[in-house]
Symmetry: C2
Subunit: 408 residues, 2 copies
Amino acid sequence: MKKSIIITFALAASLAAGAQQALFDVNNLTSPEVHADGTVTFRLFAPKAVTVEVEGDFLPPQVVDTPRGKYESAGKAALKEGEKGVWSYTTPTALQPEMYSYKFKVDGMDWLDPSNVYRCRDIASFANIFIVSAQQGDKGWLYDVNDVPHGNVSKVWYPSPTLQTSRRMTVYTPPGYDKGGRFPVLYLLHGAGGDEDAWTTLGRAAQIIDNLISEGKVKPMIVVMPNGNANCDAAPGEWHKGMYKPSFMGHQASKPVASTEESFKDIVSYVDKNYRTKANKKCRAICGLSMGGGHSFGISKLYPDLFDYVGLFSAAVSLNVRGFDGLNDRGQKVAPEVEKQLATMFAKKPALYWIAIGSTDFLYDNNKTYREYLTSKGYPFTYVETEGGHIWRNWRIYLTQFSQLLFK
Amino acid sequence: MKKSIIITFALAASLAAGAQQALFDVNNLTSPEVHADGTVTFRLFAPKAVTVEVEGDFLPPQVVDTPRGKYESAGKAALKEGEKGVWSYTTPTALQPEMYSYKFKVDGMDWLDPSNVYRCRDIASFANIFIVSAQQGDKGWLYDVNDVPHGNVSKVWYPSPTLQTSRRMTVYTPPGYDKGGRFPVLYLLHGAGGDEDAWTTLGRAAQIIDNLISEGKVKPMIVVMPNGNANCDAAPGEWHKGMYKPSFMGHQASKPVASTEESFKDIVSYVDKNYRTKANKKCRAICGLSMGGGHSFGISKLYPDLFDYVGLFSAAVSLNVRGFDGLNDRGQKVAPEVEKQLATMFAKKPALYWIAIGSTDFLYDNNKTYREYLTSKGYPFTYVETEGGHIWRNWRIYLTQFSQLLFK
């Protein structure tokens, strides 16, 4: 009977597949296919298409000129139609180890690769992903799931008395956490349009930390990834506002009663109470990208006794506050309360104040102004400049670098 | 400065959106739109398309006749082209409260709705989802995230000495778990082609249990959702075999050293050690769908002292074992060891042995044979028959019903 059940199963599966996928993936294509020599082939079954392109960050970016200025867009390449309606494109050269994202354009319209179930959401749109790795330690290896011990990733609801609600965050506990002991904590913040899921999807945070711990390059640590939009309790679809379309600024119809910075102490206090943390400043770090970099800037100065390590990744930093319109004694528009908070924080000598940005980031000048201010005050910081712009590729690099400097 | 940063941000967002989405969703469409009267409108911007259809389980199924037999396929409806390349379709009548899945077909080819970021993977293909709810307690409400206390959902790596590897499972802990106390445990198993993610995506298990707990209809419980493929450590892309294409039978190139049934004690023992469980038979339940129903059948009889509640959802049950070719004294092909295990288990009088299946399920006859065997032996069981076939819509109903019967 067992055999007959298996046959029935196989038949049902094949029929179901026939119903769902025959027109779509009739050739059971492999796409993308990373070849031994590092080149990559993309394939799509699209017998009625006139043009098929692949658009992705593995191709040289295009500079697009608009009335509002120039910007970089992902590069494109044309697929060629072969037999039986299957289009394909192979990269002319090997791709460097990296996590890449792409989508197809069929007759000009975006289309995810149906042969590749691996895809990430960025605000309201999806892209397929793939990883190229040549050897242990390269970026592809760091972002991949390897045969190393894995930490656990949890979606945790915690009370926020300050925001008068319950909120959702992602918590990574390192391999071995279930065996006991106490651990330092990295608070890892997302950017505008992101949420508590972003660092574990686009950011590959669990893989990066797993892999670096396995190599002895990062101390086993808890990583807390909260939701940085005070007007959202959770990621889209994960709280009671329903399955709304994600936007850049969180949930605009919700009015928070306090800011992300003000409410952050609720998170630290929940984590210290519910996890086996080393609950002291030397064992706490905070970093974030873009808006989350701005939050890291703001939270670290608002709570100068909480964090010994601060990382600003392509950060949106403001030295001013709403309503202040004066100039300080150097002719800078710096609000007195910001000056005071920064003075207090730097007087307490944080172990690391780390700033990283890409050379073509649209926040480059904003960061330059902030670095100049820090230098003018004699506040020590570490500065890392990379190629490229305001992109996840850089933020994964920054997490890789910053995490190795912590809790030493 | 803050204001100028926000403007810069908005500009960057708009440019990025322009780069990524202009051709795709230029009209910033809402799709699907659930209207106040319960009808639903689908919209797609597809100016070059010749035909656009929506295929989904909210439409009457089509019966497809193939050389291998008839089967049901999701129903289809045609969208009409309106202004500016926007196609649309509105259901003629209100949809009943339910979670629905659908995709578009553009010139015959599958296409996910780009305006709807909510989508679930089923083996190797994706479908968009949406939920219709009219009032508290209906199916839509049960599957939705409501303003009720939420449990936490964790991806947990545990050692399996029997399978000689580390494996990943999903663990739901109920609201209030962080306040202390001990809880009963439901082991909730997926079907062939699924993995430890399936019940929390297609199955809406966290929402169902959250909502039923909030209504006082389900006891606060831990829900453990392991990976039922002994040849996989984890879901596709979540273990070191890389980003392979998911298939119906797990990872065929991996050879497990033991079966799912044999290794299940590793899971129970890890859960009892690492969670605050009520570690006794009266406080343990096991259930599963399809292959996972077969596993629940097998595990409950292999470990007759572990589970007081057993649920078989559209289960693949086999009374025979590989290699046995005889008949029992009733002329049935039932392996003596299976008879013996079932006799032992039923002699210990489980609190509930619950069997549910849809009237058009391809395993209906298989289940009927098993029920007849149970009746012939005088083994008590509860039987629930629903409409429909081997589909998630039924398995969500079965979880809703079964969970309310537990630990009373």
